[in-house]
Point group: C2
Amino acid sequence: MALTSGTGTLFTVGLGPGDPELMTLKAARIVGSAPVIAYFAKRGRAGHARSIVEGHLRAAVIEERMEYPFTTEVALEDPRYAAEIGTFYEACAARLAARLDAGQDVALLCEGDPFFYGSAMYLFDRLSGEYPSEVVPGVSGMSGCWTQARTPITHGDDVLTVLPGTLDEDALAARLTGCDAAVIMKVGRNLPKIRAALERAGVAGRAIYVERGTMPGERVVKLAELDSAPAPYFSIVLVPGRQRTR
Amino acid sequence: MALTSGTGTLFTVGLGPGDPELMTLKAARIVGSAPVIAYFAKRGRAGHARSIVEGHLRAAVIEERMEYPFTTEVALEDPRYAAEIGTFYEACAARLAARLDAGQDVALLCEGDPFFYGSAMYLFDRLSGEYPSEVVPGVSGMSGCWTQARTPITHGDDVLTVLPGTLDEDALAARLTGCDAAVIMKVGRNLPKIRAALERAGVAGRAIYVERGTMPGERVVKLAELDSAPAPYFSIVLVPGRQRTR
């Protein structure tokens, strides 16, 4: 478990917002040459990160599929979440450590940009002190969304505030009030609360909703025109900054 | 000047933070097949965007080099800036319109992500109503910097605040006070003011300075250990959010 020459390297690889062509050249090179790939997936699903790299893998690649212990979405504040997720990450780290100890390089796949709200960080944090490691940044999900909305998010000296939709309504409304530009991540079932906060902050009229940005089934709509159906996990709300003034 | 089938398409292409391997597959494809590339550059310099695509271009590519009218950095608040920059962008848009009218596709090169503080937006805004256009998102400069600093910027429900260093000290200090995670862009000669604002906000001890992230000559240092020499344009200050708690 030391930094010896016989151990493999952990590559934590950002894959971008979903369109496989938005992978970087570096990500494609590393994913295409790694003897082992590792990725999170929900039970019964292929795994979103895994689907992005389809067609880029070595023929004999070994797959470490790491299945979340929850069958349905469990809220962050649920006590079961805190209890189970730490144990899960420890077990995943041990699986990857065994590969690295055997001298195999591991490409840990990550949607978007790994160091920006990425779950892969929880394995990077546990392993990077013990093994050689490298991180490859990716195009963030939010960049993919504002690009598909054809809406520059910031101009000039706009401030951008990025808010997880898991915050409570008061916190969201306080941060949105007087904002230049904002992005609300992790929308999902938080949509009604987010909508209320945007209205209280007086910025709901500027808000754009993007679902599955850069992916099949993509949808871009003004938030005001969106019905009240539950939003999927891959959804985001954009509040664009000031428009061009020069 | 209408959306007819004979006109070329304007591709506004994000090239990532500086390392050419951090271009996306899509950017490399478009840049490699475009008959015309266009890019901003300072007088006497190759142009940073141009240097990223070296080795990816068609042999007979036509280059529309668009040279900023300023020989030295002019502050945004300087009256000369407002007067000259609008005229400059109009002239650039006219040059690209002539290419598009002639049926030539144009790849407008942009460092980082085009819709995130990118200058290319000022041409996109002028041309996208008149011509077929597509935007390709890129890895942002800030993603490149926090990756090279090996520092996750946000975990869990951290809020991220992105601030242009051109804001005044009071505004910077107000936004930084109580922040979870922050990124300060456009550091350059604003460094002394930014340092003062970070200290007033009580977050200077967490701040990391990154210069030329992902590029040759890269430098990553704790802000507290940085001397008072002027910072170059490609520099950024990171205030990482909370550390791992699970």
